[in-house]
């Protein structure tokens, strides 16, 4: 039986990274949701509460890793979805460039926000 379909270039680096980040995100996204909605209720969040969490080195590094992997996984997923729908040629390269720039901007701003929340520096 070979009823296999994958929209990805099997064996490619991005194909593998999409799955490796998926495994990481399964745990971290669940942790993030649970911590900020069930342990700490979103309505009670304050700057100083966020600062206390983000000032723990392990939490800070986890959140930065969360940001980077979620951005890659999400943007790469969008790119693959567009390629699936037939994006090709110059438009494919232009979309790839725009998505790469958007990813870099998001990660840079996210790290800036994380640093602003911490008193580690």
């Amino acid at each position: 039986m070979a009823e296999h379909y994958s929209s990805f270039d099997r064996g490619g680096t991005r194909w593998l990274l999409q799955r490796v980040t998926a495994v990481f995100l399964v745990g971290v996204l669940a942790f993030h949701f649970f911590l900020l909605h069930f342990v700490n209720h979103a309505a009670e969040i304050t700057f100083f509460g966020s600062q206390a969490r983000m000032s723990q080195v392990g939490y800070f590094l986890t959140m930065v890793a969360f940001l980077v992997t979620a951005t890659f996984h999400g943007v790469n997923g969008v790119y693959n979805a567009l390629v699936n729908q037939g994006l090709s040629g110059t438009r494919k390269r232009a979309v790839g460039a725009v998505l790469t720039l958007a990813s870099i901007a998001l990660i840079a701003q996210g790290i800036r926000v994380a640093v602003a929340m911490t008193d580690l520096l």
Binding site: M1, A2, S6, H37, A43, V78, Q109, R112, A116
Partner: protein
């Protein structure tokens, strides 16, 4: 020996009319993925209020949003989207590893049922105090 099997073009959205669990799993995974990546950009934008020199800007923005019923309802929607994407993502990882392919329809239904159970159980927590 591997066999070829013509399943048509997976990108052909018109196939939703001929009901197949795998097709709906594919559509839901795409939809929830788009929502989550859109939310990621919005989330960082809102949290950017933490970069203001006055810490109350961040606190007031988040607490102000949480006072709105529509925001609480959207959060429940976000939870549903995130939980389904996680559960169906685990299902896809198993399928990619060649495990449980013959039960991929049942695992899709299980993803839906578990998502619904978690979301329904979480509603009181999400709507508390609004």
């Amino acid at each position: 020996m591997s066999q070829t099997y013509d399943r048509g073009t997976v990108e052909d959205f018109g196939r939703w009319r001929e009901f197949r669990a795998g097709m709906w799993a594919w559509i839901f995974h795409k939809f929830t993925g788009w929502v989550l990546v859109g939310y990621l950009f919005t989330h960082i934008a809102v949290l950017s209020t933490a970069t203001a020199s006055d810490p109350t800007v961040y606190t007031n923005t988040l607490q102000g949003l949480e006072e709105l019923l529509i925001v609480r309802i959207l959060e429940v929607g976000l939870l549903a989207v995130a939980v389904f994407h996680i559960l169906n993502g685990v299902r896809l990882l198993f399928v990619d590893l060649g495990m449980g392919l013959e039960n991929q329809d049942k695992s899709f239904y299980a993803s839906l049922v578990v998502t619904a159970a978690i979301v329904v159980a979480s509603v009181p927590t999400f709507l508390a105090g609004v």
